[in-house]
Every structure is written in structure tokens, then in C-alpha cells.
């Protein structure tokens, strides 16, 4: 039906744990449609983060190929990957991972330092991103002066500021209360529906998963698709 953004073909990932080899992902095949919003659920240690790392070019599969947006990232060098990540992927983490020494504005500008934009262009774009997440009034605040929900909004602004097509969110609401959780999820939904971002979101929260179009269950190294209610 719709265009494919990412394809995993025969992907396995094995970690060396001491003398033992642990196979975290086993011969996975997966297609992700452009514009999709997918929730990934599954028990702890089942390989959800590993899957996101492979899609985001933070890690490489032991075997198989990962193709995102027409680029076969599983065969790129580390420096190619880091350049690729800066424009193609936005990462959102459970603990926000903002830089404490920078204001909200400067945190969001950070990815733009890697571009050729001028200082005023960087500031402008970061301002727009902060506007999208509803934080215009907090641009000069440091992370420690923000609530958890606000920090996560800054992190989301940072993830979208260089306009990547794929957002990878690893338990983005895992540290937030119910009310803030639903605000963040609504924001992700808006990014998905109105801004066309493809979203892969790991979550433990069944209610959170309801915001997605599909749910993938990750267990014992395999993925099982489950249609959303």
C-alpha cells in the first residue's frame, strides 16, 4: 500500500557476554512504512533497544541488512553513520539526555552545529522546533529549571530540528506521570500525523501503545505484529 521507509532483512544480533554468546535478535525481517507510528512492547531484555539502535545506525547487525530511506546503513563506516544520523534520525530517550550546561534553545540548536546554517538560521530553526513542542516561553531555561515533561519536549524539539524522517523513541514516557505521558504521546501523534514523521516507540505502557498505528511484540529475539485496537 504505502511507501517503505525501512527494511530489515534477516537481521541477527549477537552479544558476547563473557564467554557466552547471547543472541538478542534472531533472523528478523521487518518493513516499516513511511508515515507509520509503531509501538514496540515486550519484556525487559528482549532486544527492543537493540532493535532501535540498529535502525538508528548506532549499532550494526551481526548478520543481515538494515536499509533506511534507501541507504544500506548496515554496511556504512562509523563516520558515514554519524553523518547519516545527523540528518536522518531523531532520537528520544527515557531520561531526555539533555546537556545540563546548555539552555533549552542551545540544546535544540546542537544538531544544527553540524550543518552549514548561520548562527541566526540555527536560532530560528531551533525556535520553530521549540514552538512545535509548545515551549516558546522556556527557551532560556536550563534543563534543571524544567519539569520532566518540559525536558522531554525539549528533547523532542532537538530530535526534529534537523527534520529527520524517522524518530526513534526509547520509552519516552517511562519517567513521566500519567498526565504528562498523554501530553507527550499526543505531541508524538501530531508529529506523526501533521508533520509526517515515521515513529518507532518502545514502551511498557499498553495505554501509551494505543496512540500508535501498530504494536510489535518483541520476545525471545523475534517480532510479532499485533494490530492496534
Amino acid at each position: 500500500m504505502s511507501e517503505t521507509l525501512a527494511t530489515l532483512t534477516g537481521v541477527s544480533k549477537t552479544y558476547q557476554k563473557g564467554k557466552e554468546k547471547v543472541e538478542v535478535l534472531h533472523n528478523l525481517d521487518l518493513e516499516i512504512a513511511r508515515g507509520d507510528f509503531i509501538a514496540i512492547m515486550g519484556p525487559s531484555g528482549s532486544g527492543k533497544t537493540t532493535l532501535l539502535n540498529l535502525l538508528g545506525g548506532l549499532d550494526k547487525p551481526t548478520s543481515g541488512t538494515v536499509d533506511v530511506g534507501g541507504a544500506e546503513i548496515s554496511s556504512m563506516s562509523n563516520s558515514q553513520l554519524s553523518r547519516w544520523r545527523s540528518t536522518n534520525i531523531g532520537f528520544i530517550f527515557q531520561f531526555y539526555n539533555l546537556l545540563p550546561v546548555l539552555t533549552a534553545q542551545k540544546n535544540v540548536e546542537l544538531p544544527l552545529l553540524l550543518t552549514n546554517f548561520s548562527g541566526s538560521e540555527r536560532a530560528h530553526r531551533a525556535g520553530v522546533a521549540l514552538g512545535i513542542v509548545g515551549l516558546e516561553g522556556r527557551t532560556d531555561h536550563y534543563p534543571r529549571e524544567l519539569s520532566g515533561g518540559q525536558e522531554q519536549r525539549v528533547a523532542i524539539a532537538r530530535a526534529i530540528v534537523s527534520d529527520p524522517s524517522l524518530l526513534l523513541c526509547d520509552e519516552p514516557t517511562g519517567d513521566l506521570d500519567r498526565e504528562t505521558t498523554s501530553e507527550i504521546l499526543k505531541l508524538l501523534q501530531i508529529l506523526n500525523r501533521e508533520h509526517g514523521k515515521t515513529i518507532m516507540m518502545v514502551t511498557h505502557d499498553a495505554q501509551a501503545a494505543e496512540y500508535a498505528n501498530h504494536i510489535l511484540i518483541c520476545d525471545k529475539g523475534t517480532l510479532e505484529r499485533q494490530e492496534a485496537a
Binding site: 548506532l58 554519524s82 553523518r83 539526555n97 550546561v101 546548555l102
Partner: protein
């Protein structure tokens, strides 16, 4: 340059720690500035010295005067191009504790003997015409706000006048400068003729002779020939090159130079430990931040560069501050004791060396933490956080 703001913020992540580190860098470079200025002062006599200028003093002691009659005999010695003389007057102006040297000499001869001293010809002529005339160096003129036309009384500590007076008055006829930035101009020259006529004792003698050898003559041979002439006379002489004269003086300070080097070595070694520790702490406490940077697409080399830049920036902040304060102190010291320690001076060579040392020390202190940051594995770092 667009990363500067980011680097700056990281430098100040722990304000107290960074301030203390910068303070220790500051102290190290302040010391460096002061010690190198002092070292320079001791060394400069040798550099300023002119190899073709010889100094003839009494063989036994510099304090013994030499007969005026030697002048023609020295001038007649083969290989001598020109000769003049000078003496130690040892008076003071205004305050007995603050002295500057005064020398009675021959106006034209002295200035052609020291071509590095520059003064307008009409001032030199004016001085030569006025028996009670004197000329002073720019440093003195500035220190005491003296100008041409002023009358300056000098109190004698040795040379009382024939009339019993101790006050020698001179008309300032000129102000000279030196082309050598390390040479002092904090001294006064006045006419030997006036000195000779007015002094109560010691007539017919001079303190020492200064001569220039002809360009094609060997200064050592000329010196030996002069000393041979006066051998077995009541005033035997000792002739040496100005450079040798200064060198024997400087050699006494050779050990000081070694001690200075050792102290600086110890200070800088400690400095590297302190700032290296600061940098490695700073990297250790932000492993996850560094991993985030890499996640965002900062390359390994860029991460290395930013951490290294932080280290260099800390060194430059403390170092330039130390150098700046050191420079001010050296300026002050030059004002206060320039007459006795000419050439106390923070050379541009020393400043460039210091800046190179700052950058070098920044790299040495920061390289291991920076490499650690560069090699960091994103997934390990993020999993640990």
C-alpha cells in the same frame, strides 16, 4: 568557531573546579613570566655587548683609576680604531636610596663609541658646547619628568668639589635613546672636562677606557698588546671584550638559571597533573552526554576536538592572565630598578614560548580524556546511564 559557545559552557561545568584549575595555571605562568624576565636581564648584558668594543680596567681592581696619560698610548696601539673613557661618579638625585649611574666622559667620543645610543645631533653639539651640560637617557627623563633645559643637582658621595661643595649642577642638553630594547638608558653622562676641573682630588685619572678595534684586527691580540704595554708599570691593565666582561658577570648567575629551570619544571609538572585530573574528571562525569553528542551525529574527531579545546582553553585563560599580570609586574620592576638590572624585560620570544607552552600543556593534559571521549561506544555509554 561556532563550537566556541558550546566549549565555553563545558569548561565552566563545575565553576569552582575550573576556577581552581585556572588559578593554578595562572600561578604557573605568572612565575614563568617573572622568572623569564629576570633570566633575560641576566642574559641580556651578554647579548647587548659588542664584540669589537674592549674595556681597559686596572688589573687589580676596577676601583683603581687609570692615568689620563694612557689614552694616547692606547690610541696609538696597533689595531685600535678609537678610544674614550669613563668614570664612576656615584652621586644621587633627590633620594640617596634611589640611585642611577652617572658617568663623566667625552661627548663626541662616547656617542661614536656607542652607536646604538641615539640623540639628535644638535643636542650632542649643545652638550659639547656647555661645560656643565649633561645628557640623560629616555628612561630617566620619563621617571623624573626631566626635559632639555632643566637644571639637575646631583649630590656627590665620592667626588667633593674643590670648593668643598657636594652638589654638582648640570644643565640637561639632550635626551638619548637606545636602539636595543634590552639596553638601559637610565643613566646620566656629563663632561669629563668639568669633572676634572672641579673635583677636589684624583685629578689626571679616569675610571676605565673603552676602545673599538679596527674591523680587520683581532680583539684578543689588540687587548694583549695593550696590557703588555703597561706591564710592570704602577697601573697594570686588564683588557677584555665587553662580551667577556658581561659573560663573567652572567656566569655567576648560571646556577640561578638552572634552579629557575628546575622550579619551572616542577611547577609545570604539577600543573599538568592538576589540569589533566580536571579534564579526566570532567569527561568521566559526562560519559552519557558525550554519547548523546555522538548519537546526534558528532563525529569521533569532533568529540576529540571539543574536549581537547576545553583543555587548551583552560590553559589559555589561566596562562594569558598569568602572563598579563606578570607583564605588569615586570613593567613595574623595570621602572623601579631598571638602572641596576637593565633589560628586565618580558621578550616577545618569552611570550610566544609561553603561549606555545599553554597550547602544548593543554594538549598533554587533555589528550587522554579526549581520546577516551572519542573512543566511547554510544550503546555502552547509554546503557550504563
Amino acid at each position: 568557531m561556532k563550537y566556541f559557545g558550546f566549549i565555553w559552557k563545558n569548561v565552566w561545568r563545575k565553576k569552582i573546579r575550573t576556577s581552581l584549575t585556572i588559578l593554578s595555571v595562572f600561578v604557573a605562568f605568572l612565575l614563568f613570566a617573572l622568572l623569564s624576565a629576570i633570566g633575560y636581564a641576566f642574559k641580556s648584558g651578554v647579548d647587548v655587548a659588542d664584540a669589537e668594543r674592549l674595556i681597559v680596567i686596572d688589573k687589580i681592581t676596577l676601583i683603581n683609576p687609570l692615568p689620563m696619560a694612557y689614552k694616547n698610548r692606547i690610541a696609538a696601539t696597533e689595531g685600535v680604531h678609537s678610544v674614550t673613557h669613563s668614570s664612576w661618579f656615584g652621586g644621587y638625585y633627590q633620594d640617596p636610596r634611589v640611585q642611577f649611574p652617572q658617568f663623566p666622559t667625552e661627548p663626541y667620543e662616547y656617542f661614536s663609541m656607542y652607536p646604538e645610543l641615539k640623540m639628535p645631533q644638535e643636542q650632542l653639539d649643545g652638550w659639547a658646547r656647555n661645560r656643565q651640560g649633561a645628557v640623560i637617557g629616555r628612561e630617566l627623563a620619563e621617571q623624573y619628568s626631566l626635559k632639555v633645559g632643566d637644571r639637575i643637582p646631583i649630590q656627590a658621595t665620592i667626588w667633593t668639589k674643590a670648593d668643598g661643595g657636594r652638589t654638582w649642577e648640570f644643565d640637561i642638553e639632550g635626551i638619548f635613546e637606545t636602539e636595543d630594547p634590552r639596553g638601559s638608558t637610565a643613566f646620566l653622562l656629563f663632561q669629563y672636562d668639568y669633572f676634572e676641573e672641579a673635583r677636589a682630588f684624583g685629578k689626571g685619572s679616569v675610571g676605565w677606557y673603552i676602545l673599538r678595534v679596527s674591523p680587520d684586527s683581532d680583539p684578543v691580540q689588540v687587548g694583549n698588546a695593550i696590557d703588555l704595554q703597561f706591564a710592570n708599570s704602577p697601573n697594570e691593565t686588564e683588557t677584555s671584550t665587553e662580551a667577556a666582561f658581561s659573560q663573567s658577570f652572567a656566569r655567576q648567575f648560571g646556577n640561578i638559571a638552572l634552579i629557575v629551570t628546575l622550579i619551572l619544571g616542577a611547577v609545570f609538572f604539577t600543573l599538568l597533573l592538576v589540569s589533566g585530573n580536571t579534564m579526566s574528571q570532567s569527561v568521566r562525569e559526562r560519559i552519557s552526554e558525550l554519547a548523546v553528542l555522538k548519537t546526534l551525529g558528532f563525529s569521533d574527531r569532533l568529540v576529540l576536538g571539543t574536549v581537547l579545546s576545553e583543555s587548551i582553553l583552560i590553559m589559555l585563560l589561566g596562562g594569558l592572565l598569568g602572563l598579563g599580570v606578570g607583564w605588569l609586574l615586570v613593567q613595574g620592576a623595570a621602572q623601579a630598578m631598571g638602572a641596576f638590572l637593565p633589560g628586565i624585560f618580558l621578550s616577545s620570544q618569552a611570550i610566544l614560548t609561553a603561549i606555545a607552552v599553554m597550547i602544548g600543556a593543554g594538549i598533554v593534559a587533555g589528550i587522554f580524556p579526549a581520546l577516551q571521549a572519542m573512543r566511547l561506544s554510544i550503546i555502552d555509554a547509554l546503557a550504563r546511564a
